[in-house]
Assembly symmetry: C2
Homo-oligomer: 314 residues x 2
């Protein structure tokens, strides 16, 4: 199994630069004084489609051969990756087939359809999604772009940290959320490639702590029916992302649902930016571990800002 | 009555620079394509205390004589100006007396108290507020810093546009919200001082359209019991702000409550930034007047981001 290197992330960055937003790194003296450390928020909530996922999807699409580009790409997802792949493919004149459960929220269906993707609905089970996906691969010759178990996707996700470290020197710690591990894999590969001594921490909801379990025991242990408000972090690590995380991540910290919600509220109220619950996990980690972070220059990967304003937890 | 000139705003800017945030000018290709024009959002929601009010309050405080500084400042307000004056005074070692109605939301009381101001509560009537304020002026010798009917405050508010026009050339239009007219006075003085041909528009809720009425009839006509979600725009013009607005503003456009709410929602969802209803009026003006703004380079003063997350209109 080939693990990505810093140079792969640097190549990915050169490839995707014309398509992505270079997102800002924001700071807040007020939150710094509350948290007791110096924080640098890399704001992927301002990325296209509202999430870092656009980086990985774009890199995956641009890394296809010409023949693959002609046939198109396919994925099964109802979240940010589906929208990201739809837009990345559309911007490059490539067909995107998106397999979605028939009960997906209409706002997500509309977003994906709005980017010009071809949606195939299926029953809301993993089996049905994988089967439908395989059918499209066979009949259309489309290439699967998995949301995180994919070399090109992982390298694309790592480019957020590349920009963060270009802009901010001497970070003591970098924190990113862990779901399937694509962002965490890219982030940790990038950070350790640039600065061995920078500590890399994964942020995970206690209620979906498969990465923490796997990391602690050394045995890949998928989540069973995880239930958390951080709906971007319900997925479990793959063999590939687990291998990268074992190699490059220093520790994984879990946070309670209450912490996630109050961290999210604090960022909304004080920084005046909209971040989704999955992104709030990283700030929640800081707030739950004051002693660990005290005085440290801390980079936080804010993964996205897609929330349903009708279903806010506060 | 002395009206401020561009040079007064430039002096104010030099005076307050060490204390204020230089807020970013944000753009959104998505919102541009929805609105059909090129928009530049000057984001005072990222200003200290979450609103442009900190500029005016800081300039007023720094413009005091040494004797005045010793005696302190006083104002009656339950909104952003109270917090702004409390912080501006506190940062400069000056006492701030804030008169607030006893029924003010506790979150606002706490904010003002947190900045170290001395709060005096009174009955929730304008008469009681003014009387209490006068008492403090007499007994403490404190200088009144009115939220908008004040030369120094107006000059401070104008510095947001100064930064906007420094950064963005050749704006066809600049829009700012109108409440008591402090921001509008500073904005219009600044913009017309720099670029005579740039059109200056005031944005006002239809349900609190005293500025529109006064501007249209030429007779100062205060609002009677205005009721709008844009709670920063309930106040009416003063003689001073009306004179400045008559001289420098090209037109005032009113917007419905529905427009304000949907404009606010669109900015939250697409730009991922938190703006308050009063600020949403400027984008609502663009959305309600597509033909007028088509293709124009438009500057929008986003006045603040203080919202109660428990009372969202969507």
């Amino acid at each position: 199994m080939e693990l990505p290197a810093l140079s792969d992330i640097q190549s990915a960055h050169r490839r995707i630069i014309p398509f992505i937003h270079r997102t800002p790194v924001l700071t807040s003296r007020l939150l710094d004084s509350i948290a007791g450390c110096e924080m640098f928020f890399k704001c992927e909530n301002f990325q296209k489609v509202g999430a870092f996922k656009f980086r990985g999807a774009t890199n995956a699409v641009l890394s296809l051969t010409d023949d693959q580009k002609k046939a198109g790409v396919v994925t099964h997802s109802s979240g940010n990756h589906a929208a990201a792949l739809a837009l990345a493919a559309g911007m490059n004149g490539i067909r995107a087939f998106i397999v979605m459960p028939e009960n997906a929220p209409s706002v997500k269906k509309d977003a994906v359809a709005g980017y010009g993707a071809l949606i195939t609905f299926c029953k809301p089970t993993l089996q049905a999604r994988e089967e439908t996906c395989r059918n499209i691969m066979e009949t259309e010759g489309a290439t699967l772009v998995h949301p995180y178990d994919n070399f090109g996707v992982i390298c694309g996700q790592g480019t957020a940290s590349l920009e963060l470290l270009e802009e901010i020197n001497d970070l003591d710690v970098v924190i990113a959320p862990v779901g399937g591990g694509g962002l965490m894999s890219g982030t940790s590969t990038c950070v350790k490639g640039i600065s061995r001594k920078t500590v890399v921490i994964g942020a995970e909801p206690l209620n979906a702590n498969d990465a923490w379990k796997s990391f602690t025991t050394g045995i890949l242990t998928p989540s069973v029916n995880p239930l958390t408000i951080a709906d971007g972090l319900l997925t479990s690590l793959s063999e590939l992302t687990f291998s990268i995380i074992r190699k490059n991540v220093d520790d994984i910290f879990t946070v309670s649902e209450e912490s996630i919600i109050s961290a999210m509220k604090l960022v909304w109220e004080r920084m005046k930016i909209i971040i989704e619950p999955s992104s709030a996990t990283v700030f929640a980690v800081v707030m739950e571990n004051r002693q660990f972070f005290r005085g440290k220059r801390t980079g936080l990967i804010i993964s996205g800002g897609n929330v349903d304003l009708k279903k806010l937890p506060f």
